[in-house]
């Protein structure tokens, strides 16, 4: 029915769909038609920015003979994009860039998807999370902030974040557990909006990614307190108030034993062959070597860990278990899961 409808109304699109199946895998595979890079999030967000930068780098340095097309499929917290790639059996011309919703969306909504339905290609980077407060507020350290949260009646301190039952709220719940007090979590559509709500003092703190809040930090509007990683970020260039990303202490060193980083990685559809995976791994190695990629990493203070193959799959497996535990404790699992 789906194919019939598309062939009737849209011959061009249908031909792409119908041709999708079964291309014989030969040695040193290469794409034979345009490659779709699916973004399971809206335009303008972190994953979208990264995907479009990759597209720009590949175009500018002619790293592929076929064009790369970025397509946003953000419906159902990204579920639309994951299901699309899951159904792309034997279609090596469709890849997807993921964020934490790879785990959180199926757990929270119960849609029929698991990352094992896809073929892992490569981890491109890890995105950091930083605890931010408004610069006009008196708290200068994590301890001062925690004391203020504890002193306030439970639920009166507002934490702003991106999405519901996703990474920002998971960190918030972990914070509540560590502090022993309650926040009121307010979900917004995008990270940039969250940062501005903090500047306007409509929320009291956020756990924005560096790239989402850096502009406000440089403008002297927000203040970073700590980073949710095992070690400080690697970038020592000065950003604001004579401080760089490296000067932000880890939350653990400040008495908040919480670590959370977010995957920025590439997956393919089911049943990809080794040649096809190798092609994309090599491609992304070339992308990572370009100065444009280095600039993006620096501006967003990314953790530049790169992984492929079984090491990558192992990492994703561990993260999945961790998310399941975290979300179960927070009561975020969909009924029937």
């Amino acid at each position: 029915m789906k194919h019939l409808g598309s062939c009737l109304t849209l011959a061009a699109a249908a031909s792409i769909l119908c041709l999708g199946a079964s291309l014989p895998a030969s040695a040193a595979w290469e794409p034979t038609r345009p490659v779709e890079l699916i973004v399971p999030a809206g335009t303008g967000g972190g994953a979208d920015q990264m995907a479009r930068t990759i597209q720009g780098i590949i175009t500018k340095h002619s790293l592929m003979k076929q064009p790369l097309v970025v397509i946003n499929k953000s419906g159902g917290a990204g579920g639309e994009g994951f299901l699309d790639v899951k159904s792309a059996n034997n279609n090596p011309h469709k890849i997807i860039i993921t964020l934490s919703n790879l785990f959180t969306t199926p757990l929270a909504t119960g849609i029929p998807f698991n990352w094992k339905d896809l073929t892992p290609v490569a981890m491109l980077a890890l995105d950091e999370f930083v605890l931010w407060v408004n610069a006009d507020k008196p708290y200068k350290t994590v301890k001062e902030y925690i004391d203020a949260v504890k002193a306030a009646p439970a639920g009166t301190i507002k934490m702003g974040g991106t999405g519901s039952k996703q990474e920002d709220q998971i960190i918030t719940v972990a914070l509540e557990k560590a502090i022993g007090s309650k926040f009121t979590y307010i979900p917004y559509k995008g990270g940039g909006e969250v940062a501005v709500q903090l500047v306007g003092q409509h929320v009291d703190s956020t756990v924005n990614n560096p790239i989402e809040a850096v502009a406000q930090w440089r403008g002297g509007k927000v203040r970073p307190l700590c980073v949710f990683d095992s070690k400080p970020m690697a970038y020592d260039e000065q950003v604001a108030d004579g401080k760089g990303w490296k000067d932000i202490p880890t939350c653990k060193s400040q008495g908040l034993d919480i670590e959370y980083v977010m995957l920025r990685g590439i997956f393919m559809g089911p049943k990809a062959t080794k040649d096809q995976i190798d092609y994309y791994v090599e491609l992304f190695k070339k992308v990572r070597a370009t100065p444009e990629w280095q600039d993006l990493m620096k501006s967003g203070a990314f953790n530049t860990t790169f992984m492929t193959g079984s090491e990558y799959a192992g990492w994703v497996g561990t993260e999945e278990k961790r998310h399941e535990t975290l979300m179960k404790e927070a009561g975020f699992l969909a009924q029937g899961n």
Binding site: G5, G75, E80, T109, G163, G200, V203, A215, E292, S299
Partner: protein, 501 residues
Amino acid sequence: MEEIANLFQGFAVALQPFNIAVMVLGIVLGVIIGVLPGLGGANGVAILLPLTFSMPPTSAIIMLSCIYWGALFGGAITSILFNIPGEPWSVATTFDGYPMAQQGKAAEALTAAFTSSFVGALFAVVMITLVAPLVAGFALRFGPAEKFAVYFLAFCSFVGLSKEPPFKTIAAMMIGFALAAVGLDSITGQLRLTFGSTELLNGFDFLIAVIGLFGLGEIFLTMEEGLRFQGGKAKIDLRVVLRTWMSLPQYWMTSLRSCVIGCWMGVTPAGATPASFMSYGIAKRVSKNGNNFGKGEIEGVIAPETAAHAAGTAALLPMLSLGVPGSPTAAVLLGGLLIWGLQPGPMLFVEQKEFVWGLIASMYLGNLVGLIIVLTCVPVFAAILRVPFSIIAPLILVLCAIGAYSVHNSTFDVVMMLVFGIIGYALKKCNYPLAPLVLAIVLGDKAEEAFRQSLLGSQGSLGIFFSNTLVSSIMILGLIALFWSVIQNGFTRLRTRTAAA
């Protein structure tokens, strides 16, 4: 005065031959994108973004923002000619633009729409030039409660005026709200009303609904009426542009009001769509020709178009100065800025003067170039209506299908569009107004989100909507708009009573 000096420097940048060429190319591409329903400004800019990576950042952003202007202009064309809004903010333009086209006044409607767009955008650019820092600060005061108040005002200023029976208006609006609720609930992260179907994960996209309800519904009606396009006798004459221009100055009050509404909505940033609806609603209420609205009144084209463009332009201000996009297209432009290593935010105006003022100067020039290009094409656009309906109807259908498909690259959407077309036809036959339904689909989930965010923050107390002067005054304006006809009746009765006594 430093701003003026900077602006002239900006003009010097924007007037380089390469940048002018880029500007014209951007406008033409933008108009094409705007005409294709579904492709839309945001998608168009996203698709063309990689093209610009090899250019210097200033030229690149000039090209992208010109695509944006072009799409804003282009959205009006299909709204007026075929009743198919290419962009959400063009919906209100169809209310009077399409009846005008049916009466053979397509050229007048197009001229009015393009000129109003230009006026609105120009007003917003002047505002950006003069008061950028002040206005940017105002946007920060908008939390969830203030945003909800703005949506509330948009609904109220639109609902109170409907000529259809209130019951039908409310029924249509409730259908819209129900459709808007489908998909992921952003507050709880749960799926709603999808009934286990993975196709409904995304909810009903506004564009699919509008292409179906307005575009297809209209084609079905025309088919029933005997395959005739009533606008076929449109004259092709460039003089009609001048004639229309002569008549425009008398609507200066509507224009000015719409400019202010647009700028306000763009900066807050609620966006161009509520601005266009609100402006149309208020114009209908206060204009002395108010009763003709919906039957082909030129003022009903001027009001929404002016406001939409003032808002679309003003939306770039919070993007540049705060890093918050006021529209989906602005969000893609924002992504572009980051790729060129330009960090939007409070420091952009300080650190990247040449870029910012080059962009602002290109807004002036881009709009002017855009206006000249689209105005010279008015006769051509209007002439499309002279093509026999039996030829153009299948073309429109194909265009609609492509548009619906390209929103999410999904064939399911094409089927949904057909379903909406049938619904639109049925509702029109039963005299249910479509506008409140569409308004609810566009703004319903946003209003709901803002409402629930506010209540989360206030721990469930409704007092938050009257907690400071800003939010209270917007809410009270909304209530006045909602009960306007009652208040007016009351006054009239009071006056007659005093006169009698």
